[in-house]
């Protein structure tokens, strides 16, 4: 489906093309109509078909470099446009591509103007005899020749379109001396080459570049909005079962300290759950079998730091404990002097871990000090 914005863009492009074409036609007709004897001033033609286009081209490039919007922006800001047209062009959802679009439309306008000028020129060459003359109070044919030769460098391969001193002298016209031209129609190739070289071709190239830039920016922008990314998203782990949290103190228990807890922490455990039957340190290098208490029916309580996530080496050790009774993991949170309630996210981490250790023979629960502690 075509976006409504594209329709509006197309309509504006069409309107500007039409406007440029009309401007080109009217201006060219005005200049090429000549005087009452049909004589066309060659220097005016050069001004219109070579100097002004080059100047406007340079202006376009300067505006582009200065991050200005170009002639289309100037044109749409003129006060004579109907309000509906202004609203329509502003309603186009161009986002940050507006500048590129306006620059593109400026090139459309200029190319249409160049096309209009050339159409009129060719039509007049076909339909009438254009008599090219030149006049100057200060310049002579020898002064003018180097300038024209410089202009004609780009089409050096086109011999018939090259200026010559003979041609210049023949086409010089003077109202003071009444001199007339005899070979003046031979200038048409030179004028056509100038139009193509300095007007039509550069504008067509610039239009192509502007179009590419605008389309590229639109494509990038839409990619941006879609949030295209090459990074693979990772699937989060599926929900897991959580072991129960208990607050009841075990009747008798062996405390296995994985956390290397400070003294005030051990005192707190004794106050909360009673004195353990045995207290041993537990580490990745522990000989687990030697830790097993002689009274096999007592519970084992593994003390861990609640904020540290359960690691593989703890799991390996706990699986080796192989007790046949109920066991507990006791995550505690402490600082230098006091014991704090373990954070819920941390507790859930330990609940998941305890659940992953439980099987039909061994059950692991998370032990927490109750409110009375």
């Amino acid at each position: 489906m075509t976006h409504p914005t594209s329709h509006m863009e197309a309509r504006i492009t069409l309107a500007l093309s039409f406007l440029g074409l009309l401007l080109g036609i009217f201006v060219s007709v005005g200049v090429l109509a000549g005087d009452d004897q049909g004589r066309v001033n060659l220097l005016f033609l050069l001004l219109l078909f070579a100097f002004l286009p080059v100047l406007s081209l340079l202006l376009s490039l300067v505006l582009l470099l200065m991050k200005q919007n170009g002639s289309a922006a100037l044109l749409v800001s003129l006060p004579f446009w109907p309000k509906e047209f202004l609203q329509a062009q502003m309603n186009i959802e161009l986002g940050n591509q507006r500048r590129s679009w306006l620059f593109f439309e400026s090139q459309v306008l200029s190319l249409a103007f160049a096309a209009g000028s050339i159409i009129v020129f060719i039509a007049l060459l076909l339909g009438t005899d254009v008599n090219f003359v030149w006049r100057s109070t200060l310049l002579s044919a020898t002064d003018l020749l180097p300038i024209l030769q410089l202009i004609s460098i780009p089409w050096g391969f086109w011999i018939d379109a090259q200026p010559s001193l003979d041609l210049l002298q023949q086409s010089q016209n003077s109202r003071i001396t009444g001199g007339a031209s005899t070979y003046s129609e031979n200038w048409w190739q030179f004028v056509l080459a100038a139009q193509l070289t300095y007007n039509l071709i550069p504008r067509a190239v610039l239009l192509g570049l502007a179009r590419w830039h605008y389309k590229n920016k639109t494509r990038l922008s839409s990619q941006f909005e879609r949030g295209d990314t090459t990074v693979n998203k990772r699937r989060l782990a599926d929900p897991e079962t959580l072991a129960t949290i208990v607050y009841t103190r075990p009747d008798s228990y062996q405390l296995l300290d994985w956390s290397n807890a400070p003294e005030h922490c051990r005192r707190f455990i004794t106050q909360s759950f009673g004195k353990p039957v045995d207290l041993s340190s537990l580490s990745a290098n522990s000989d687990v079998h030697s830790l097993r208490h002689s009274a096999e029916l007592i519970s084992q309580v593994v003390l861990v730091r609640s904020w540290e996530p359960p690691m593989g080496e703890l799991k390996d050790v706990m699986q080796l404990l192989d007790s046949k009774t109920l066991n507990f993991i006791l995550p505690l949170d402490w600082d230098g002097i006091s014991i704090k309630a373990a954070n819920n996210t941390h507790l859930q981490e330990w609940q998941r871990f305890a659940a992953s250790l439980s099987n039909s023979l061994v059950e692991w629960k998370v032990l927490q000090p109750g409110e009375h502690s």
Partner: protein, 463 residues
């Protein structure tokens, strides 16, 4: 040579958050559960022509036993790197230490190490095995202390990490601004000389992108203001009665379109800052539940007094152009008159919304028109909300997954920081936009209001 960085550490200490922040990418999965990352995830970051890779790794799971294995296989320091290589190739180790194998592989493949710890929790000796293993790899490394909850144990960590790493930095993944992010990369240019050029290019590319982002944000804001102020909804009808029946539905559709226009630009702004999954709650604020309740607009836009001052400034600026044209012969009556007219129209139109009009068509029938918005405060409201969102995005990192809550903005405060000339240009531009007139280089006028631009200017001044 493209620099590669492996982000390693204990499980659940913010490795993925660091990757998301440094890569400025909210696609990176971050979970509060430990062990979510089981395989290395390489994120390729490309900025202009510069690029680098970040590798999110699984956390250490069995560092004590892994180190014991390594120590058994290297009798002296010169054999340590080879011992790590053997460790990676050993089938027994691959079975017993899958996480260590996974995280050490990119490091032995040439990636530099970014070791992450949590500065809000105390240091303990169990981390030493991890740091020792990393030292055995012989790769360039630095340590980042990520204060997840608070900064209580930073000093303790600095002392411990300083014994294993040449560079130790405090880096809060949830708050680190761009300069801090760049300083992490820049640290490696001193540790790894062969990456210096690539890292310098990266830093330059980041800076260029920041400037371009400011330009693009200003353009986006200009586009929103221009389009929203000019928006008009038309519907052809046969009779006046039909038009009156349609009126309320046309009004609803008109306001809905304006809201969606604003939302689309907000979404584009988020995309511009590379947020593709960020949910914001600007519309659901309890006191801003309706964009078109003019009584509530003062929260986002200007209050009546500020609005009148702004309109007077805009009117005076326009009138001054007439004075200039008359070479002062108007005795500055243009500026004075323009100011009075602007202020009066703002006073009278403070509660006005969009007009409903009915126009006859030459071929028969009518066209019912809703809009454009008449209220002078409307562009200020859009401006205030957009600027507030931009400020929040600028201050946020890509590691955060919480909803973006947009509370009250302080538009007048932001405007008052501009110079007098900038304020005049702004008020004049918004006045023109609210009259559906084109504004020349609107983006350049709006740019000084952007938080990023103000921060950039302030950095330039500091330098």
């Amino acid at each position: 040579m493209t620099p590669r960085f492996a982000v390693v550490g204990h499980p659940n200490k913010g490795k993925s958050s660091i990757v998301a922040t440094l890569a400025q990418n909210d696609d990176i999965a971050i979970s509060s559960r430990s062990g979510t990352t089981t395989q290395c995830q390489q994120v390729d970051v490309k900025i202009g022509s510069a690029s680098y890779s970040l590798i999110d790794t699984p956390g250490f799971q069995r560092p004590t036993l892994a180190l014991a294995w390594l120590q058994k296989h290297a009798s002296s320091a010169d054999k340590r790197v080879n011992a790590v290589k053997k460790f990676l190739l050993s089938e027994d180790c691959q079975r017993q230490f899958p996480d260590e194998i996974e995280l050490l592989t990119p490091i032995m493949d040439g990636a530099a190490i970014i070791y992450v710890v949590d500065g809000s929790r105390p240091y303990s000796a169990e981390y030493e095995a991890e740091m020792e293993i990393l030292r055995w790899t012989g790769q360039a490394s630095l340590a980042l202390i990520n204060p997840i909850e608070n900064e209580r144990y930073i000093e303790q960590w600095q002392q411990a990490l300083g014994q294993y790493f040449k560079v130790v930095k405090v880096f809060n993944a949830m708050q680190a601004e761009i300069e801090k992010q760049l300083s992490v990369l820049q640290s490696f240019s001193t540790i790894r000389e062969d990456w210096k050029v690539a890292i310098d290019n990266l830093v330059a590319a980041y800076k260029t992108r920041s400037c371009q982002r400011i330009e693009d944000t200003a353009e986006l804001l200009a586009a929103l203001l221009t389009q929203a102020c000019a928006y008009q909804l038309n519907q052809k009808v046969l009779t006046k009665e039909q038009a009156n029946t349609l009126r309320s539905s046309l009004e609803i559709a008109y306001f809905a379109r304006l809201k969606s226009m604003e939302k689309a630009h907000h979404e584009s702004l988020k995309s511009l800052f590379s947020y593709h999954h960020l949910i914001s709650e600007v519309e659901n604020l309890p006191d801003i539940d309706n964009l078109f309740d003019t009584k509530k607009w003062i929260v986002w836009g200007l209050n009546r007094k500020q609005l009148i001052t702004a309109a007077a400034m805009a009117g005076a600026a326009t009138g001054a152009v007439i004075d200039l044209g008359l070479a002062g012969s108007s005795l500055f009556l243009g500026a004075l008159g323009g100011g009075v007219i602007g202020a009066t129209s703002a006073w009278l139109g403070a509660d006005k919304l969009a007009d409903f009009k009915l126009q006859g068509l030459p071929v028969g029938g009518y066209v019912a028109q809703q809009g454009p918005m008449q209220n002078k405060n409307f562009p200020y409201v859009l401006l205030g909300r957009f600027l507030h969102l931009e400020e929040l995005l600028q201050q946020r990192t890509h590691a955060r997954r919480d909803t973006l809550l947009i509370s009250e903005g302080e538009l007048q405060g932001k405007i008052s920081k501009l110079s007098d000339d900038q304020q005049k240009s702004l008020h004049k531009a918004l006045d023109r936009a609210s009259h559906q007139k084109p504004v020349g280089d609107f983006a350049a006028i709006l740019k000084p209001l952007l938080h990023a631009e103000r921060a950039r200017q302030s950095n330039l001044q500091t330098q």
